[in-house]
Amino acid sequence: MTKKATRRKASRPKSLLYDGSEWDFETMQRTYAAIEEIARDDLGLDVYPNQIEIISSEQMLDAYCSIGMPLMYQHWSFGKRFVREEELYRKGYQGLAYEIVINSSPCISYYMEENTMAMQTLVMAHAAFGHNHFFKNNYLFQQWTDAEGILDYLEFAKHYIADCEERHGTTAVEDILDAAHALMDQGVFRYRRSPKPNLREQEKRRREREAYYERHYNDLWRTLPETKADEEAGADEKELAERKKQLKLPEENILYFIQKNSPTLEVWQRELLRIVRNIAQYFYPQKQTKVMNEGCATFVHHYITSKLFDEGLISEGVLLEILHSHSNVVAQPSFDDPRYSGINPYALGFAMMQDIKRICTEPDEEDRAWFPAIAGTGDWRAILKDAWANYRDESFIKQFLSPKLIRDFKLFRFTDDTKDDHVTVREIHNERGYEEVRNALARSYEISAVEPDIQIVDVDLQGDRELVLRHGVRNDVPLADKARDDVLAYVRQLWGYGARLEGVDLESGKTLYTSPTAKAADGDAAFDMTF
C-alpha cells in the first residue's frame, strides 16, 4: 500500500486511500476520515460519535440473534433463533448481514473481519453515517428512544434478570418473559406522548418504586363480590365508574396496564414486564421507518462512495466491487419471480431518495405538477434531510412517491376477498391509477394495518375481575386462532384472573366473536396471590 506524500492543497488530485483488498486499522481510520469529510462538509450530516467494532463471523451470528444489541438478557427464544440462523448460515442459505448498527450514542456498528476493504468502506458509509444520521434526526427516534441511555439500561436489565433468576429460579423468570414476549407488540405506547425517556433517571426511580409497591396495596381491589342491597347499588355504580376512570381505559399498552394493575404479580415480575416494555418501545420506531432508514443509508453510501471515486481516493476496482454489492442490495424482483419476497425496503428507499434528488434538480412537467413545492428548487440536500427528519414510511411514501417510480417498479394494486376465488386488479401504473396506488402502498406501511388492534376495554371490578380485551376488526381480517388462544393464556397468567377477547367490527360496532374464558385457577398460572 503506497501513500504518496502530498504537500500541496486539495486542488491537486489526492492519492488513493488504499489499494488491494486487505484492511488494517490504519487504513480504516484514514478511510473513515475521508468519508467523514464528505458526510459532514458535502451532505451536511449530523451524527452521533461513532464506535467501530471489528468482529468475527461467529460473533456476528451472536449479535444477530440477540436482536443486534451488544448486551441482552438471556432467553431461550434467542437460543432458538441462534440455532436456526447458524444452521442456515452453515448451509449457505443465508449470508450474514454484513452490517449491524445500533441506535445509541455512541453509535456502535459492527464490521466483519472477513470483509474486504472495499466492503468496509461501503459499510462505514452506510452504517456509521447513513443510519447514524437517521437515528439521530428522525422525529420518531427522537421522541421514543433514548440513544444515550439504552446501553446502560440493557446492562441493568441483563443483571436484574440474572439476579431474579438466582433468587426466584430460571423457570419462574422464563414464564414471565415468555408471556411478556408474546405481548411485546402490544406493549408500546403508540399515540400517547410520553416525555422524552431518560432511562438513567428511570433506574434511579425504580428502587423507590419497589419500596412503594411493597408498602401499598392497590386500593382498586378492595371490593369483594358480595350481594348488596338494592338501595346501595346506585352508590356502588358511581364508585365503580370512578374506579374505571382511574384505570384509564381503553388502554392500548396491555403490558403497561397489567404491570400497573395486576393484583397478583410481585414487584420483581412487574419490573420484568417493564424491561420488556422499554425494549419494545425502543425498537418501535424501527418498524415504522424501515424504508426510509435503509433508503437514507443506501443513498448516503452510494453518494459518498461515488464522490470518493470522483476525487480519486478509491480505485475503479474498488468502486466496481462496491457497486456490485450495492446492486445486489437494491434489487427488486417482480412478484412472479421465484426470488420475490416482498417489496425490498432498500430498493424502494434508495429509488425514492434518488428520485427526490432528481426532482429537485432536473424536474420534468409531470414532476412540477405532482411536487410543486420541491420541483426545481435545487437544494436536494435540504429537502432530503427534512424528509428524513420529519416523516415515517407511511407519510413519506404518501408525500414523495412519484409516478415515475410507480412506472419504474410497475406497481399495481389488487383486492383479495376470501369469499371470492379470484383477486381483482384495481389500479395499475397509469395516469388514472397513480394516486390510488400511492395511497395503497402508503397504507401498507401503516403499523395499524399490519399489526392487530387489540386494547383493554374493561375490567369486571366487582365480579370475577375478568379482563376484557377488544380486537378492532377491520375488513373482516381475523386473528390466527391458535396463536390468539396461546397469547390469551399468557394474559391470564399475568393477570391472575380470567381474560377474554372480543372481536368487534370497527365499522359496524357489531361483536363478531368472543374467545373463551378460562379461570386462572384452572391451569396455566403458577403464581400465588400476594394478598
Binding site: H75, W76, D336, D337, K410, T418
Partner: protein
C-alpha cells in the same frame, strides 16, 4: 471522531448460554426426536451427532397476528400484462397473484424446525435416565488411590512442610524463658561505652563506670551467644495424613454369537445393541472396562474393531463364550474388586447338548459373581410373531427361563428389528427408583 475497537479477541460463544437454555426448554421434544432418529441410523453413525427435526409447535412464540381472510388489498411490483378490472384466479396454495414463498421468515410457520445437536448433547439426551444397576462393590482389599489431608503438626518432617508460625512461637517462648537479652538492651549501652572509650581524660569514677559497662556488655553478649535464636527443639512441621479413596470399578463383558445361524440382519442387530451399550458406558462412566468376546464353536476375546467389523462364521457352542469369560475374570478381574456385568446376544440356537452346560455355568459360576447379566435373543420377523408376545423362545431362551426367576440379577429380552433395540435397551438399564 471514531473509535476503532477490535473485538475479535472477545470471548466468543455469547450465545452458548442461550443455546443451552433453548435445549433445556425443548428437551422433552428433542428427546422424542432423538429416540426416533436413533432407529434410522447406520451402525457406524450411531455415535455421531445428528440432525433433529422437531415440530415448531412445542417451542413456539405466539403473538397476536392476522391470519388469512377478510378483505385485503396489496400493491405488488412487476406488472406485465394486467389492466384494471382483470380477475386472476387464486392459485391453490393460497398465494395470490404469483409465486409466493412458502415457509415463514422466522421458522415459525408450519415447517418443522431443524437443527443439529452436537455428539455430546445427542448422547446425553439419549442416555438420559439409564444407568448400570447395582454399582455397589468397592475395593476392599487393595486400595490404590490415596488422598492427602492436613492433620495437625509434628516434630519431624521436610523443610517444605515447615510451619513458620508455630516454630517462631516456640522460639520466642524459649527465649523469654531463658532470659535471652534483647538487642535493645545492648543498643542502650553501646553509645555510652563508645563515648567513654574515646575520651582520654577519664577520672576514677568514670573509669569505674566504663569498666562496669564493659563488663555488663560482655555478659549480655555472652548470654546472647549461649541461647540460640532458633533451636531444633522449636521447629514444627505440618502433618499430612493419607486417606484411602475407595474406587468403584466395573467391567462389562460383551458376548456375541457370530456363528452361521446368525444371518446378516441378526448380526447387524446384535452389533447395534452392543454399540449402544458401548456408547452408554463411555458416556456415563469414566472407568468401565469392556471385554469383547465373540464365539462360534470357539470363543475368543477380541478388540473392539474386530468385534464390530469382523467377518467370522462357524458353528454355535455358547458355553465356550462363558468359559472364556470366566477365564478372563480369573486372570484379570478379581471378583472382590470388580463389579462384573455381562451382556449376551444370540439368536437362540445352540449345539444340542450345550444348553445344559450353559445353564450350569451360568447358575453355578457366572451369575453368582455378576452384578447384572442381560441376555438378548434376536429373532426374525416370523419368529417374533410366534414368540414375541409370549414368554417363549428358541432353545437358549427356554433354557434360560428358570434362571430368570431364580436370579434377580438376570434379565432376558427379545429383539426382532431395529426399532426394538432402544426400548429393550432402556428396559434393561432403566434407572432403578431408589
Amino acid at each position: 471522531m471514531a473509535h476503532l475497537i477490535d473485538r475479535r479477541l472477545n470471548p466468543r460463544d455469547k450465545s452458548l448460554g442461550n443455546r443451552q437454555r433453548f435445549l433445556r426448554r425443548a428437551r422433552a421434544q428433542i428427546k422424542e426426536a432423538v429416540d426416533k432418529a436413533i432407529n434410522d441410523r447406520n451402525v457406524a453413525d450411531v455415535g455421531t451427532g445428528g440432525k433433529i427435526s422437531i415440530p415448531s409447535r412445542g417451542i413456539g412464540e405466539p403473538r397476536f397476528r392476522h391470519a388469512s381472510g377478510g378483505r385485503r388489498e396489496r400493491v405488488l411490483p412487476g406488472n406485465k400484462e394486467f389492466v384494471p378490472g382483470d380477475r386472476i384466479a387464486k392459485p391453490q396454495d393460497g398465494a395470490a397473484g404469483g409465486a409466493g414463498k412458502k415457509g415463514s421468515d422466522q421458522g415459525e410457520g408450519e415447517d418443522d424446525f431443524v437443527f443439529a445437536l452436537t455428539r455430546d448433547e445427542f448422547l446425553d439426551l439419549f442416555f438420559d435416565d439409564l444407568e448400570l444397576p447395582d454399582l455397589v462393590k468397592t475395593s476392599l482389599k487393595e486400595t490404590f488411590s490415596y488422598k492427602s489431608y492436613r492433620a495437625g503438626f509434628t516434630n519431624s518432617g521436610t523443610p517444605a512442610n515447615l510451619n513458620v508460625l508455630r516454630t517462631m512461637r516456640n522460639s520466642i517462648g524459649r527465649r523469654i524463658a531463658m532470659r535471652r537479652p534483647i538487642v535493645a538492651r545492648l543498643e542502650e549501652l553501646a553509645p555510652e561505652i563508645e563515648e567513654l572509650q574515646v575520651r582520654n581524660d577519664l577520672d576514677i569514677a568514670l573509669q569505674r563506670r566504663l569498666a562496669e559497662l564493659s563488663l555488663e556488655y560482655e555478659e549480655l553478649e555472652r548470654r546472647r551467644a549461649a541461647v540460640p535464636y532458633i533451636d531444633p527443639i522449636d521447629i514444627r512441621y505440618n502433618r499430612f495424613e493419607q486417606r484411602p479413596q475407595p474406587k468403584t470399578k466395573a467391567v462389562m463383558f460383551c458376548l456375541m454369537d457370530v456363528s452361521g445361524s446368525m444371518g446378516q440382519h441378526e448380526k447387524d442387530l446384535a452389533k447395534r445393541f452392543f454399540i449402544l451399550l458401548h456408547l452408554f458406558l463411555q458416556r456415563r462412566y469414566e472407568k468401565v472396562e469392556i471385554v469383547f468376546i465373540r464365539h462360534t464353536h470357539q470363543a475368543q476375546e477380541v478388540e473392539e474393531e474386530a468385534f464390530f467389523y469382523g467377518q467370522e462364521t462357524g458353528g454355535t457352542v455358547v458355553s465356550t463364550a462363558l468359559k472364556e469369560m470366566l477365564q478372563v475374570i480369573e486372570a484379570r478381574y478379581p471378583v472382590a474388586e470388580w463389579n462384573i456385568y455381562g451382556a449376551q446376544a444370540s439368536d437362540g440356537d445352540n449345539f444340542s447338548d450345550d444348553t445344559g452346560r450353559c445353564i450350569d455355568l451360568l447358575s453355578s459360576r457366572v451369575l453368582p459373581i455378576c452384578q447384572y447379566y442381560a441376555y438378548v435373543e434376536i429373532l426374525d420377523q416370523r419368529e417374533f410373531q410366534i414368540f414375541g408376545s409370549s414368554n417363549n423362545g428358541k432353545e437358549l431362551w427356554r433354557g434360560y427361563q428358570p434362571l430368570e426367576t431364580a436370579w434377580p440379577n438376570f434379565s432376558m429380552k427379545h429383539i426382532a428389528e431395529v426399532g426394538h433395540i432402544y426400548p429393550v435397551f432402556r428396559e434393561l438399564f432403566a434407572k432403578q427408583s431408589a
